[in-house]
Point group: C2
Chain length 297, copies 2
DNA sequence: TCCATTTGCTGACTTTAGTCAGGTAAAAAG
DNA sequence: CTTTTTACCTGACTAAAGTCAGCAAATGGA
């Protein structure tokens, strides 16, 4: 990795945590402990389960409980058992609590404004654009790709979303029964593998690998959530699948795809897949690709 | 101000404080209080005066003293009177302290690397470029422009730097005695005004205003430190001087400039100054500008 | 039905961060 | 040669943040 790049990231970290960190502590403190402000903010207008809050704010159970009691005592929120499971408790803001959150919101707004205010319009636009880019790429960098159980809840959600999407995009829709199989049961060792991409624990992409005979494997079920496209996630899923395939003895990877999936074709072409003749009778496929010469690293 | 811009800044703040803020606290904590880590880092390999540390870290005198004692007790640093002034005390790292800072340094390096690692080279380059842009513009946004005493230490330093620079840049050098006067004494009310631009308390730009007869004022001593150019500081100094001039009854602003100061001419042209005939006998001036119709807002 | 697990709460801590009111020595000002 | 200011330190606080062990209710599976 380039040393200059790392130096720039470090300068950025220092500059931004100083400027923004300190400012937002001041702004959002509002005379109340920061942890309480963050908690109010995180509960938000719709309320939230205590366990969700614990996970999102990474707080100790005891500490969080105490914070909730303190805010409850001041009439900012109420905690009740959740309807579906009485062990779980749900925190909701009172009217007074919502007013407080509104005030926090205004402060956060003012903080953002105070960063932009000294700049001229041209500089503002540049700053905002650069911030959007940094945010986008930090999101991309936080995505984790890992092996997962294709029968698990997250995997099923991804696969369902994938099937719904191609049913919409393919001319004439899509019926899994008429296509080539890729059951969850096939996508586990020793007959295959399955990868999930997660951001902050939420699954937003997947890809499957199905092993065939004589060192040939097939890529199936490649999908990325629409909200997360353009972050290079498909690329990383593909790389992970290739590495996994190679480790499982695959030397040649194949895949088929529909003419409506333009981005997918571009992805495969970029990664050294070349178009070949039809190798299966999948009625939904219009293009067939192959990449030879995979090696375990 | 554009609401969308503010929303983007807020999203950025959230994303960055979550991703980077939390990460760097974890990384740089290293089992020791964060304040101590920051202090070690700030002392650095060359050591630093205690008062400098106090200013840079914005710490209470007593608190800082205690932090220094704690690190001293663990043999990480030594504090001695400074040679030139025995009230001032200078903190320097011991060998053990330097090893600690090296470790912190490695961690910070690793943190930066961990942000870049999941990305491909193209994304990395984009991220690093966007970070540099954000950092640059946040610096610009943190610059404060305010009236200052032109005889004060900071102002004198800026004016001296200005004179040295034009002595270098003008063909044949520059001799203040042969030019039009702009003594500090003239640049205070009621005969003038003086503005300083500061970043984190450090002066890095100035501009003077000298009042003449019949609502005519003259801009003098416009200068920005080379390290801070390209941030739009001159623009903000000029705007501040114009506002001040208008408030003091000026309706027409003039200035002269040397042919070697190309950026300055562009600045004035951009701001509605039009070139006029020679209005003084300054031997160093090659261009004369004027802006009419100033109004107090 | 019983028992392990999950979820959240309480009490009793510790550590970290930060503030404030003096006090002392050195240097600068008068 | 005083007086004032500067720079730093110490002691005595407080508030915020966080940790840990143990407990009790609800739940789900054996």
């Amino acid at each position: 990795m380039d040393e200059k790049q790392i130096q720039q990231v470090r300068r950025f970290n220092r500059a931004v945590t100083r400027r923004i960190g300190v400012l937002s502590d001041d702004y959002l403190g509002r005379g109340r402990p920061l942890a309480e402000s963050r908690l109010l903010f995180e509960i938000g207008r719709d309320g939230a389960d205590v366990r969700t809050l614990r996970a999102r704010l990474a707080l100790d159970s005891g500490y969080l409980s105490r914070l909730l009691r303190a805010l409850e005592a001041r009439g900012l929120l109420a905690v009740q058992p959740a309807p579906h499971d009485a062990r779980v408790r749900r925190a909701t803001l009172t009217r007074k609590g919502r007013r407080e959150v509104d005030a926090l919101d205004r402060d956060s707004h003012a903080l953002a404004g105070s960063l932009l205010a000294p700049l001229g319009e041209a500089q503002r636009q540049k700053l905002v654009a650069a911030m959007a880019e940094v945010e986008r790429l930090l999101r991309a960098s936080a995505v984790e790709v890992a092996l997962a159980d294709p029968a698990g809840a997250e995997a099923r959600a991804c696969i369902d979303a994938y099937l719904r999407e191609i049913d919409e995009r393919f001319e004439g829709g899509f019926d899994a029964a008429r296509s080539v199989s890729a059951d969850p049961a096939e996508l586990v060792p020793p007959t295959g593998a399955f990868m999930l991409a997660r951001l902050d624990g939420e699954a937003l992409g997947c890809g499957g690998l199905k092993l065939g005979a004589r060192g040939v494997g097939e890529i199936k079920r490649m999908w990325v959530a629409p909200s997360a496209r353009g972050l290079g996630i498909a690329q990383r899923l593909l790389e992970a699948l290739e590495a996994q395939a190679a480790a499982m003895g695959v030397r040649t990877l194949r895949l088929d795809t529909n003419r409506s999936l333009v981005e997918a074709r571009a992805l495969y072409a970029r990664n050294g897949y070349v178009e070949i003749a039809r190798y299966n009778d999948n009625p939904y496929a219009d293009h067939w690709f192959e990449k030879r010469g995979l090696r375990p690293k």
